[in-house]
Symmetry: C2
Subunit: 292 residues, 2 copies
């Protein structure tokens, strides 16, 4: 790693030699005040940059990288500025260097060892999910309680008895645990993972898990994602409805069936396929291969 700047200075214990007096308070752990929203986007930039590295791209401007990541360039530069100076003015960013920088900032450069508890449908999918391995997360242990599952091999790992979680964690030294058990069992599993010394837990159960402050629990609720989509679809249907009501007021008063059932029927009507609005969307499709 060739260092252009004296020291990146965002991480590391010793006070960074920043020329300006900014961030002087709490200077010891500046990484703390990177906003969550920024961290999430950094992960996205990282993925895009990895693709660029593979393609052999050497330099990228904030404009290009932002476009590829689907954000504005101002936001991108602001996000990157939390990591200290990363680019060269008038030139752009060194792709591979910036990737490494973000990787380090996210704590990914050492890799992570992941244990997964709950080898049901979802657990199996997660265990076999290539996206993890590709991004530095190694599955090192699978656990379940069902006798029919314990002992079987899933994604090249033998499923262990969840009762042996604590002992296994001492052996496996995981840095992250994933919970994919039924709702009722989740809190108990969480407690035992905390006992075993885990500090990072990703839960796929909708229940809010209680854990000590020093343990970070993230929850992914797949149904919530769908419900947010549902809201947008209902909202859109309503707007379409409202516009139709005002714009076409003089023409056909109500072209839709089931209006008597109230505005709710709009949601169903809005999803009707293949008329008018659909036609001009096909022109929008651009080939069958993914392009950034």
């Amino acid at each position: 790693m060739t260092e252009q700047h004296p020291a990146p200075g965002v991480r590391g214990v010793s006070a960074a030699p920043r020329s300006d007096g900014l961030h002087s308070t709490k200077s010891l752990h500046a990484a703390k005040d990177i906003p969550q929203a920024t961290v999430s986007r950094l992960a996205t930039y990282l993925r895009v940059l990895s693709v660029m590295v593979d393609e052999g791209t050497l330099i990228v401007s904030s404009e290009e990288l932002a476009a590829a990541a689907g954000v504005g360039s101002a936001k991108l530069r602001k996000d990157l500025s939390f990591l200290g100076p990363n680019g060269v003015r008038g030139v752009g960013y060194d792709v591979s260097r910036l990737r490494d920088r973000i990787e380090t900032a996210l704590g990914l450069d050492q890799g992570h060892r992941v244990v997964l508890v709950g080898v049901g449908n979802l657990g199996r999918a997660l265990a076999g999910y290539g996206g993890f391995g590709r991004r530095g997360f190694a599955m090192v242990g699978l656990f379940d309680t069902a006798p029919g599952v314990v002992g079987t091999v899933v994604s090249e790992l033998e499923v262990r008895d969840a009762g042996a979680l604590l002992a296994a964690c001492i052996e496996l030294q995981p840095t992250i645990a994933v919970i994919a058990v039924p709702d009722e069992a989740a809190q108990n599993v969480c407690d035992r993972l905390v006992e075993a010394g885990l500090r990072c837990i990703l839960s796929f159960t909708p229940v809010e898990l209680e854990a000590p402050d020093h343990v970070e629990v993230r929850r992914v609720d797949l149904a919530v994602e769908m419900q947010m989509l549902s809201f947008r679809s209902a909202r859109n249907a309503e707007i379409v409805d409202a516009e139709a009501a005002t714009a076409n007021q003089s023409r056909v008063p109500s072209t839709r069936l089931g209006r008597s059932r109230g505005p709710r029927s709009a949601a169903t009507a809005a999803s009707a396929p293949a008329q008018g609005t659909v036609a001009n969307t096909t022109t929008n499709s651009k080939g069958s291969v993914v392009r950034q």
Copy 2:
């Protein structure tokens, strides 16, 4: 449904008879300005309320509901206020009524018909995920391209050929589509779903999908969730490190191994099990059954 108030007035096309002059601009589609963050939390409240209905709870205060959902009561009341008045001052909220109210606001009261494209590991897990059905999402169609998969039965549905997507959508009338295909195929699948008239798409591929404005695409990137955990763990390790460096300055200068490899080794050290910090977490666990 017994209506206490003359009309909820947040949805619906006709102007709502609000006594105050608020939201008078753009009054036609007030639902538009419910913040995303609020929508997401509404989904959480809905889940908690459903549990309460099942338990036979009739009335709940903002304080209680907020606690159960893991948010502050002020935030909860603010969130609910976007739906219009829902409670009774001095009393609280009618649990079942509030649940229905949120369900309607999220557009869930009519249910949703979901098609899923890509019946690999993840697709299978999603197809069999009970959390969807339990919350009003019905899987109505599974699609794949692999000859070995097409025709097989997964979660009580026969997998169809993805080539017949458009025709099938006319028949199935889905309101939501889920994409769980390999990255390279995602954009193509997305284009064809748009062609088929879908307006709500949930994608599990990390690639940013292009779609017309009237189509809502949500992306769930499982690796990003892990990466955010990773960041927090690295940050925590760093803080622990920094505190140790300042507090124990006069004592042992460096108690950890591998310090020569730079601050990054802190992440590994922080995950070491079972000493000091672990002891007081076991007292925190409260029985083995999930309790809200």
